[in-house]
């Protein structure tokens, strides 16, 4: 009798760890894994984008800025700097989430993320936050590096931060969709080469959208990439080509839609679970 009671007591002691509504420990663990993953190779994930962006700035400034050109009322280089910053941030956010998921799938260690008691939304949040962190970290580094060479002023800091976070989130979520959909490295390379890079190149990073033929200007006003670059630039130089109010609101709306899509795909385990 006495012995049974003792065993009972022992059994009650080894219950599994109780998880509340939110698995904060799991969320934090997956997030720090995502961050450590890119910090581990920081020469490729932070240094390389920063150097490339500064080179682009130098080249375009030398090639296009020579004739004291002004765009939207500012020097060409002042116009270009925020656009390039945004382009680098978004490309890195996309690369982080897409490669994280795809590599895990190809190497088979995606089960290590699917097995732990993480809800689909927790998994989505942790991975997206990793991508946002990389995008913002790259953006900040580029910003600091540019400050050395250029007198950068920030007209509307809150707008700049708002657009930076929303744009990184948008591309992180797109990266997750891409990573979930892709089955080989070729697939994601194709998405990057033929969709993401063209969109970020052609959406007003390098030129004012007014220079486009009229039909394309109309198209641009339906392009979230345009609002993201235009709005971020508005944060710096205080001038926007498009309607800034629409931009402030459009990006979060796009993000909500993308969140729902990512959540749905992870819930049903599309190309993640057998």
């Amino acid at each position: 009798m006495c012995r049974m009671a003792l065993i009972d007591e022992k059994i009650t002691q080894v219950t599994p760890r109780a998880i509340g509504r939110v698995n904060t420990l799991g969320l934090w663990t997956l997030y720090s894994r995502e961050v450590k993953r890119f910090l581990n190779v920081f020469t490729q994930t932070l240094m390389a984008p920063v150097i490339t962006t500064l080179l682009f700035l130098a080249v375009f400034a030398l090639a296009l800025g020579g004739l004291n050109r002004t765009v939207g009322g500012v020097d060409y280089i002042t116009f270009l700097a925020p656009g390039l910053m945004m382009m680098t941030m978004t490309q890195n956010s996309f690369a982080n989430t897409s490669s994280s998921i795809l590599i895990a799938k190809v190497q088979g260690n995606i089960v290590d993320i699917l097995m732990p008691p993480l809800a689909p939304w927790e998994m989505a949040l942790a991975i997206a936050a990793g991508g946002i962190t990389r995008g913002l970290l790259v953006g900040l580094t580029v910003f600091v590096a540019m400050m050395i060479f250029l007198p950068i002023s920030v007209a509307h800091p809150l707008s700049a931060v708002w657009f930076a976070i929303n744009a990184c989130m948008m591309l992180s979520l797109l990266g997750m969709l891409g990573g979930i959909w892709a089955q080989k490295y070729d697939h994601i390379a194709a998405v990057t080469n033929f969709i993401i890079t063209p969109l970020s190149f052609l959406s007003g990073t390098f030129y004012s959208i007014d220079r486009l033929p009229q039909a394309w200007v109309t198209v641009a006003h339906f392009n979230p990439f345009f609002y993201m670059i235009d709005g971020f630039r508005y944060g710096f130089i205080g001038h926007a080509d498009g309607n800034v109010m629409i931009g402030h609101l459009l990006l979060p709306i796009v993000n909500v839609v993308l969140w729902l899509a990512v959540h749905r795909l992870i819930s049903i385990g599309y190309r993640l679970k057998a």
């Binding site: 490729q44 240094m47 150097i51 490339t52 080179l55 080249v59 090639a63 070729d186 194709a190 390098f206």
Partner: protein
């Protein structure tokens, strides 16, 4: 008594060692190298073409495209040859690195080493496949670029000389980097911090006149600058024939030196033989 088996002798004699056996070289070059890049044509041919065309589109929109940049050439006509030959160098370099690193990581390199291939055949087999990839992409890009520039050809032989020498030089650099790289990190280090800066800061996009005088030597000492101005001379006739002659000669010399280095490393089995 001496045993003689005359009827067996011819079969027992090994093939006389030659420096290069065309068939063996062809197998490594064509079956392994060329077929591989043709199989991945989306990344090896279409990708570079799309990104080059993006650059041209951006420049068309950001510049007054018709504006004369240097005597007789519009800005686009000035930029196009430089962009083509830079992409050519980059592809040759990347292709051979990819082949070598993937072969090393997958352990396939031991199959290649087991085959009766001399170090020179190995070097040329890998290197020439990369040259072929670079040249194929360059021809496609040139053809596509006629949309922007119209047909231009000043001297086929000068253009071909610079294109082939540049592709060969960068393929040989790629062999050395590919042998040296244990992981992708080392390759991307060279790609991001050497090849890309050399290419961007080389006068692809601007003439030396837009550089402050005391910085011009930095550009004139850049081999990529010689390649680009030589190739541009061949295509458009813009430039200095004496300079092109000397630059071509020096490039050939550098290519020969790098080739010898690559040959030595192959012969020693640097990082590929135990």
């Amino acid at each position: 008594m001496e045993k003689t088996t005359p009827e067996l002798t011819p079969e027992l004699t090994l093939e006389r060692p030659r420096i290069i056996a065309i068939l063996r070289l062809w197998t490594l070059f064509y079956r392994r190298g060329v077929v591989r890049f043709l199989k991945f044509w989306v990344e090896t041919l279409l990708g570079p073409m799309v990104s080059t065309m993006l650059f041209m589109t951006v420049f068309t929109l950001a510049l007054d495209a018709g504006e004369e940049m240097v005597a007789g050439l519009s800005a686009l006509q000035f930029i196009a040859p430089g962009l083509v030959v830079f992409v050519l160098c980059q592809i040759s370099f990347q292709n051979v690195c990819f082949m070598l690193i993937i072969d090393k990581q997958e352990g396939v390199i031991s199959d290649v080493l087991m085959a009766p291939l001399s170090p020179l055949e190995l070097l040329l087999g890998y290197g020439l496949a990369a040259v072929a990839n670079g040249l194929a992409a360059a021809v496609l890009i040139m053809a596509a670029m006629t949309i922007f520039t119209g047909g231009m050809l000043y001297s086929f032989w000068i253009a071909a000389f610079f294109a082939i020498t540049a592709a060969f030089l960068f393929a040989m650099i790629g062999v050395i980097v590919g042998l040296w790289s244990d992981k992708w990190d080392q390759f991307s280090l060279v790609d991001n911090f050497l090849v890309l800066p050399l290419g961007l800061l080389s006068g692809t996009f601007f003439t030396l006149n837009s550089i402050p005088l005391n910085w011009q030597w930095l550009f004139e000492a850049n081999p990529m600058f010689w390649i680009i101005s030589g190739f541009r001379y061949g295509i458009t006739g813009y430039g200095d024939s004496d300079a092109a002659f000397w630059h071509g000669g020096i490039l050939l010399g550098i290519a020969a030196v790098v080739f010898m280095c690559g040959w030595t490393l192959m012969a020693r089995g640097y990082k590929i033989k135990a």
